[in-house]
Symmetry: C2
Subunit: 425 residues, 2 copies
């Protein structure tokens, strides 16, 4: 399969992507829909032309659209606005969390990067925007994914937006809001009796069949493109802070890819001079029901032992995380830490974040908030250093996590007398 | 009560707001927390200093923040960025709806203004941003509202964000997602046994009590400020179209305020030269379960007869709409029309919008889409004229409206064999 986009017109900037590079053995391959190394089966990622990356400037970015596509010079697809899928994803609010900081004893600023503001209300709109753009450029005619829910929402919505066929695979026990939000867009939705890891394995098998030759599985055969979308979570925070890096970031981990790519984004920005080099620490958050990466960190090993996920943080329930070793490396090499929290702490974390910042997060955001609190209490995270936490999803999708913990203060008849009787006047 | 903000520094642009003006008899009052005329009990709205409005330029707006506050020169509060509550509300996507247009036979462009992209996922974040900013400037210490749900979400979230006390009143039969999303922010939430109109009446009574003297009811005593926030839905569409007005707009109606203010925004932009004058038509959408304004239109009367609301479009269920007569005037004076649709059409409208645009709307968006379709079919809306429809809320909040209509295409075991058995391979 070859690229269908004619870049010869001279008006479209060349893509900075130069090759696919094995993250394990360093082998190089031409750009295309390949995700594993033929030599060692290691995962591939996008390698860039250093000179093209270095041509990206702050002014050029600031003059771009108010979406992730302002960073197209640092992404592997979408240089041509006419092939780009711009759903308005990105440039989500970076919110000062002074009250949360005060409650946790912060003396330095604390911020929440709120990705529930994306079109389908999760960070997955970033990776899908890049993946579906790349898929179209590579000539695919259908888009697909294995998903714990948010990715399903995003793939189905983006496909509907641009009129592309979609087929989405989910575990059959997902939160009902995520099922409905995917099904409503009218693509094909397949509920698979099994865990996310079972679903993912099935998608890998299907991607090798003739019937799926023209189908781009965003997190399988075009995963190198897809994963780069998460870098924009790093780019935006640095730009929103006035072109500098925060001193500490806390990110949730499912496959471990998001955290790894935020770290990659910070390094790229330094290397091409968009921000000054500075010490920063990367922290990773998981739930106790699925903590293979954080457990490896706590045990001081490099080996991520797969687990069978349980617990309410379903969007993080990847028992065999593809980027676990790379996440461990990002955290250890920057002097950060990892921790995990149980379901009760996750629910409390959702409430704490909502009450102090007005951000209603899904369970993954509860994990991140509760892990922030835990790392502060253990002294592993420094409250005198400026810190950014990532909220990656929306509380409306996991409403059951808190619906039995919060309720109206009072139920009254529609009278002033009723107000008095309830002690509210 | 007097303003607590010192505007004497000279660095803060003066507010363009000059007075409160009775929409019924034209009487003028000084700016402040007053919403009804002492002479005739008519509703008050903000009157502006024409010269100050005229000083607003396209370039000035474009250089402003990427939120509703870029239009602060046309709003009654928030000229001082330090008192402004900027939650990132506004500048929501204006989406080309080519597939929806094709299905309905449009030859001109059709667009969806998608306000589910706001922080709490409805257009209410616009009016609340302005109301809470005004309330703070006016010295209030607590914020309150009567709400059909979305306003409750927004008031509670904004109050949590800035650390202000809040007390929110809702009908006790609201959708559970809206109740949970309000309660989670930790303010006081009062469920009232009655309709929205009962809740609203109670809030009017409470606003006159000593105990609520320092409480700003966003849609009662600071309603003139609050309502102006909806103008930004008009400003943004014109700016996003490249500084010109659309030829037709379709907006949902609850109180009728939103539609009225979009019309006011268009007129203001013309009067100060931000856009050229052009013919445009305003169309209004209601549900059959609560259609007092649309029924008056259909019957050709000026009298809006209050109704007892029923039906699934709860966010539009205001049986005694305060701005009904003004909405009728806006529609009639521009040559538009009004219509209403039943619950089955609303559900189908949600699906049609989702499948063709990737926008998952709440019931109000289903109303607007279904009314668009109805007006096209009746020939009242011209498919050869460029049209914008407003989606004001998010499907995740009214998930029950479609959850029994959509479902996975198939449920399969996690095997390729399972795919074949389901006819998917």
């Amino acid at each position: 399969m070859t690229a269908v986009v004619n870049r010869a017109s001279g008006t479209v900037p060349a893509s900075p992507a130069a090759a696919l590079v094995c993250r394990n053995c360093g082998a190089n391959y031409p750009l295309g829909p390949q995700h594993a190394c033929f030599e060692c089966f290691g995962p591939l990622e996008i390698g860039y032309d250093a000179a093209r990356l270095a041509s990206v400037t702050r002014a050029g970015i600031e003059a771009g659209p108010n979406s992730i596509w302002r960073y197209s010079g640092l992404l592997p697809a979408g240089q041509d606005p006419s092939t780009r899928v711009d759903s308005g994803t990105g440039m989500t609010p970076l919110i000062r969390a002074d009250e949360l900081g005060a409650r946790l004893g912060f003396t330095a600023p604390l911020w929440v990067k709120d990705d529930s503001a994306n079109p389908t209300h999760s960070f997955k709109d970033r990776v899908v925007s890049v993946a579906i753009t790349a898929a179209r450029e590579l000539g695919f005619t259908r888009i697909a994914c294995a998903s714990t829910g948010n990715l399903a929402n995003s793939v189905a919505a983006h496909a509907a937006r641009i009129g592309m066929d979609s087929i989405v695979f989910i575990p059959s026990d997902l939160e009902s809001a995520k099922v409905t939000q995917t099904a409503v867009y009218g693509g094909t939705l397949v509920a698979v009796e099994g865990s996310y890891d079972d679903v993912n394995r099935l998608c890998s098998e299907l991607s090798e069949t003739d019937e799926f030759e023209r189908t781009a599985f965003v997190n399988v055969n075009v995963r190198p493109y897809y994963a780069e979308g998460s870098k924009t979570l790093g780019f935006e925070v640095a730009e929103q802070l006035g072109w500098r890096l925060p001193q500490q970031v806390v990110a949730p981990m499912a496959s471990g890819s998001l955290l790894t790519k935020v770290n990659k984004a910070f390094k790229e920005m330094v290397s091409i001079g968009l921000v000054e080099a500075s010490d920063y620490r990367v922290y990773g958050a998981q739930s106790a029901g699925c903590s293979p990466i954080a457990t490896a960190f706590v045990n001081g090993t490099d080996t991520v032992v797969p687990v069978k996920p349980t617990g309410i943080a379903k969007s993080l329930n990847i028992g065999n995380p593809a980027d676990g070793p790379y996440a461990l490396d990002a955290v250890r090499s920057t002097g950060g830490a990892m921790a995990f929290v149980d379901d009760e702490q996750i629910r409390a974390g959702i409430q704490l974040l909502a009450e102090t910042t007005g951000v209603f997060a899904e369970t993954a955001g509860g994990v991140t908030t509760a892990v922030l609190q835990k790392l502060v209490e253990s002294g592993q995270l420094d409250t005198s250093r400026e810190t950014v936490i990532y909220n990656t999803g929306d509380g409306l999708k996991t409403i059951d996590a808190v619906s039995d913990r919060v309720s109206p203060t009072a139920v009254i008849p529609p009278t002033v007398k009723g107000m008095r009787a309830a002690g509210l006047l």
